[in-house]
Amino acid sequence: MIRNALAETALTLAIVFVVVALVLVPLAMTQADPVGVVTTFLFGPFKSIRHIGNIIELATPSMFCGLAVALILRAGMFNLGVEGAFFLGGLGTVAAALILPLPGPWLAPAALLAGAVIGSSVCVVPGVLRARYGASELVSSLMLNFAALFIGLYVLNVWLRDPAAGAMVSFKIPADARLPRLIEGTRIHIGVLLALAACGLGALYLFRTAGGFESRIAGANPSFAAHLGLDVARIGLRAQILGGLIAAFGGGIEMLGLYQRFSWQALPGNGWTGVTVAILARDHPALVIPAALFLGWLQVGGDLVARNFDIPNEAVGLMQALLLVTVTAAALTRNPRLLRAFGARSPGAAR
């Protein structure tokens, strides 16, 4: 089993290298230092502690969102509200941090909790509509994302806006509420530990608790769950609530960890990244961690190339899109011949 997993990983890495070679190398040839372009993309993100930090900063919200999506997908639901939950979670957390009259150490946890509850509504409402009326949660969550955005902006404009600032941003988040940094010279904050813990707990929940097991039954086969007497609608709703809380919590963490004020004027896109992460991780909470780090690496490497060479960041974006497709391409990653070439035993033998 482990041998096969290693072979899969090796094959995936090989695919990444081949795609980079096919796309980046021709691009690099237009530059004075083609070798530099390729090595910057591949290894630049690991060259300094700060850039490793950047990967982790980017991966932290992706882990929360990826975990949220994974839990929802596992329960057989398809909720895109994670994006809106992340946004509203960030806003709710900042609002609570600004409003709650709590002493220092209590402020951040309380604000995060409040933000999680507020933000989760974007996932919960479609969940309720699905459970009660059978309305497609795909559409309602997609729509509610934008509704949440504009209602959130309204709240920001009317109640949270700092009139002294020259833009539509909230008052500054109290220093007490901001999350402590972990490593000098980076912006890695305690949120990453929470994200890792959340993924671990998510895996534990899904695979080692009765609730998680029931969720997987309902997701794998709803008629089977009904046959067992499980309340499929309630299980789905539970997953939506859980996913919404996690995503919204992630939004709050992002705010308190990296921002001084709430300043999003549009949906930040982390929820969409979460969908990508969850698919890359095959809906497995533990695999969400490497998937998020992989995407973070892809981003930082691409940024470094775009920043340091005369290669437009759109070109890098094209390559990133291609990488996303190829690393999930079953024709490549599940190809028995390729897998065997990377040392896998034949799957038949595993039986």
Partner: protein
């Protein structure tokens, strides 16, 4: 693309003339000075990101090998901005340029860490009274002053009968979002218009997006349908939809930031003919000027400059359609207002400082 090449060539000519006029500073130092502009978004907004990039081109054109310039697009993910500023500061850039208010907090964090670098912050401020920002030069635009002139033009064209009466009596405003910098335009615009017609009506709409031209067109058409004779767009690429609406409805439009008549002059002359004028926000000029001062060693770092009509940092396009469309008394009125603002006899309110409640009162009072 012949049209574009010609336009760019013209730009170069202008820049070249500027060089000839100022004279290339004597071989300053053996090492070229390095300046980088970090765009917190993407180029192509036809607004100050593009104008900033144009300013960078002008710097390059003026100083040639004596400078090294670079524009880096940071994208819209805010968490990446600080990291990019840090990277640039770690690098061997001498001058680092950022713009918009959102960058202010980043400058606050970064600038004190790298005292040997010079930072130029456009449209944002840092708390200079804390004394930590001796290497930051901040400049803000009084777009309300330019918009004041735009308001006079709009209301004036209606008042003096240049615009046929059956087009309607109100003027329009199409903003990207209901945010302070946009409302700074709005407040100046309303005040300018009121100085001509005290009971002027202003149809106000916000698109909620800066890249949706179709939505911009639809909003503008709704305004034109409701009796708006001339509209002012401050909404980036969304706002350009207003020009398409003006063409379709046979009404007039006012552009923003750059000369929007020029943008479409070659590709769609009919639409360009509907742009009565554009209110300019000369980020390019400002950036070039700042760099000139930097080279000369006289850049006023450690403080904020607020520049407007007086510094010729904002203004109204007076060539093109405006030259033929506006009658002389109106032109004179605009010139007088400009002089009044420059000499301080006229002060224009700022959209940054009004409270939301006051803003709502103002908007309600001009509602058609």
């Amino acid at each position: 693309m012949p049209h574009l090449t010609r336009r760019r060539f013209n730009t170069l000519l202008v820049a070249g003339a500027a060089i000839a006029a100022v004279g290339v500073p004597a071989a300053h130092a053996s090492e070229p000075k390095k300046i980088v502009f970090l765009v917190n978004g993407n180029l192509g907004d036809k607004s100050y990101f593009d104008l900033g990039a144009l300013g960078m081109n002008q710097i390059k054109a003026k100083y040639g090998d004596a400078v090294e310039t670079k524009v880096i697009e940071m994208g819209t993910d805010q968490t990446k901005w600080l990291a990019t500023f840090q990277d640039a500061s770690e690098g061997d850039w001498d001058v680092i340029v950022g713009c918009t208010f959102e960058i202010s907090d980043i400058m606050v964090e970064i600038a004190p860490q790298y005292p040997d670098k010079t930072y130029i912050l456009i449209d944002g401020v840092v708390p200079f009274d804390e004394g930590k920002f001796g290497n930051v030069y901040s400049v803000t635009f009084k777009q309300n002053e330019g918009s004041y002139l735009a308001g006079i033009l709009a209301a004036g064209l209606i008042a003096d009968g240049t615009i046929p009466a059956d087009w309607g009596k109100s003027i329009g405003f199409l903003g990207g979002m209901d945010i302070p910098v946009i409302n700074d335009f709005l407040v100046g615009y309303i005040e300018g218009a009121r100085s001509v017609t005290p009971d002027i009506k202003v149809a106000i709409a916000y698109a909620g997006s800066f890249n949706d031209a179709a939505k911009g067109k639809e909003l503008a058409l709704a305004q034109y349908r409701g009796g708006t004779a001339i509209g002012f767009n401050v909404a980036g690429l969304t706002g350009l939809g207003q020009l398409a609406a003006a063409k379709e409805a046979g009404r007039l439009a006012l552009g923003v930031n750059s000369d929007q008549e020029a943008i479409f002059k070659d590709s769609d002359p009919e639409m360009a003919s509907k742009v009565a004028s554009s209110m300019l926000k000369k980020v390019d000029v400002t950036l070039l000027r700042a760099f000139d001062l930097y080279i000369a060693g006289t850049l006023p770092v450690g403080q904020t400059e607020s520049i407007g009509l007086k510094e010729d940092a904002v203004g109204l396009v007076e060539t093109g359609n405006m030259a033929t469309l506006a009658k002389d008394p109106l032109k004179a009125r605009i010139a007088a207002a400009k002089a009044g603002i420059v000499d301080g006899s006229i002060t224009v309110s700022s959209g940054f400082v009004v409270s939301q409640a006051d803003l709502n009162t103002l908007r309600d009072s001009v509602r058609p």
